[in-house]
Amino acid sequence: MPLRSLDLDLEVFHGPFDLLLTLVLREEIDLLEVDLAEVVLAYVEHLEKAGRLDLEATTEFLVLIAALLELKSRLMLPVEDEEGFDIEPGEAADELLARMLEYSRYRAAADMLRERLAGEHGYRYRSAPLPPQLRRVSVEAAQQAYDPEQLARAVGDLLEIPPPLDLRHVRRPAVSIEQRLRHLRDLLGRRAPFSFDEAVNGADRLTEAVTLFALLELYKAGEARWEQEEPFGPITVTPGGGAQPERRSGEHRSLS
């Protein structure tokens, strides 16, 4: 998705994303008043609509939004130094200044190039086809340029039959989603509410991960709800309102 087609509708700015940072750098928009989260949301929405990922354009967006975030976060730091912040009051200005100077250098170089191109304008180069007698490559003028062994080696490469793939190291996963779904449903039926730690009770990381995945599936189907009071805190699982036991047999076939 081309970045230039990303149209923003923010409180302080309406227009293409392309224009935003330019205006900020030219101090025509106060970065402190730009809701950057809105910009990110607009982009994600746009990506979703486009349905495919243009890696280059996305990188470009990330680079630009990161620059904006960095500038803004620096501007938002209190100027009067409080303990814990060792950022100089002028640092935000320095950062912005460095960027503006770098840009102004290439803007001036661009003017030089444009002038140069204009000055070159009258010079025209000839582009006529070669006279027929010169068009054919002459065999007499040719000299050895390649090693014939290169050809024999290429044939050797082509005779190579790849060894059959050794699949012995690939094990079938010991933990299946079905198994963990059964386990969680069993707990929901017998002991709800229960904590996630109880559900995985000392199992290995793979089992933990698959259990979490199974829990997400149950949540999606409305069979379970979960709560976590704080990051890294205990997760409490309770039965959801929308359990549909009659669909159980078939609904997760796609996961197997």
Binding site: V137, A141, A154, V155, E160
Partner: protein, 190 residues
């Protein structure tokens, strides 16, 4: 040389084809008489035998052309074969053509396990392989050229090195063509 003569010179230099007097007069926005005069001045400058480029009147128009004195050097500069290093794909295609000729493009693709249009196209363009009739099934066949032998320093096709030295499994039975096709089929299964 006055300005009109300079402009006429520039026009003849740029134009790939001879330009008639009317055409020159039109472009310069002057009369044909003035163009004829300018051409006379130019002719002094481009008198044959003094310059590398000469003024000629051909096919109802005027044109600049090189003097035959430069023919040999021009051939050396411009008719020289291009010989950048071969890519792996090009080397493989060329090796298949060299050892199995005549060979068709579908066969090359079967042996390599991938379509080989671009590499074959480049080899054709560089003049190291050429078309050589059609197979029973109508596919174009390719063979190597004299230029190929020259660029690889070969006195003839029988001077191609024996691939046995690079054979990964010399104990395998069969002709080279048959073995290459078999290996290609195996690779294609992956």
């Amino acid at each position: 040389m006055n300005e009109l003569a300079r402009i006429v010179e520039a026009l003849l230099f740029l134009s790939p084809d001879p330009v008639p007097v009317e055409g020159l007069a039109d472009a310069c926005e002057v009369s044909e008489g003035e163009v004829v005069e300018a051409l006379a001045r130019l002719r002094e400058h481009y008198a044959e035998g003094f310059r590398g480029v000469v003024l000629r009147e051909v096919a109802g128009g005027f044109t600049l052309a090189t003097d035959p004195v430069a023919e040999r050097a021009a051939r050396r500069l411009l008719s020289r074969p291009r010989t950048p290093p071969l890519t792996q794909a090009q080397a493989e295609c060329l090796a298949i053509v060299a050892y199995l000729q005549p060979v068709s493009r579908p066969e090359i693709a079967r042996i390599r396990g991938v379509a080989s249009e671009s590499a074959v196209g480049t080899l054709l363009e560089r003049g190291v392989i050429e078309e050589s009739g059609r197979s029973r099934f109508g596919a174009v066949l390719y063979r190597t050229t004299d230029l190929f032998e020259k660029l690889f320093g070969l006195s003839g096709l029988d001077a191609l090195p024996d691939p046995a030295a690079f054979d990964p499994s010399p104990e395998e039975e069969g002709e080279l063509r048959e073995r290459l096709l078999r290996a290609g089929a195996e690779r294609a299964q992956d």
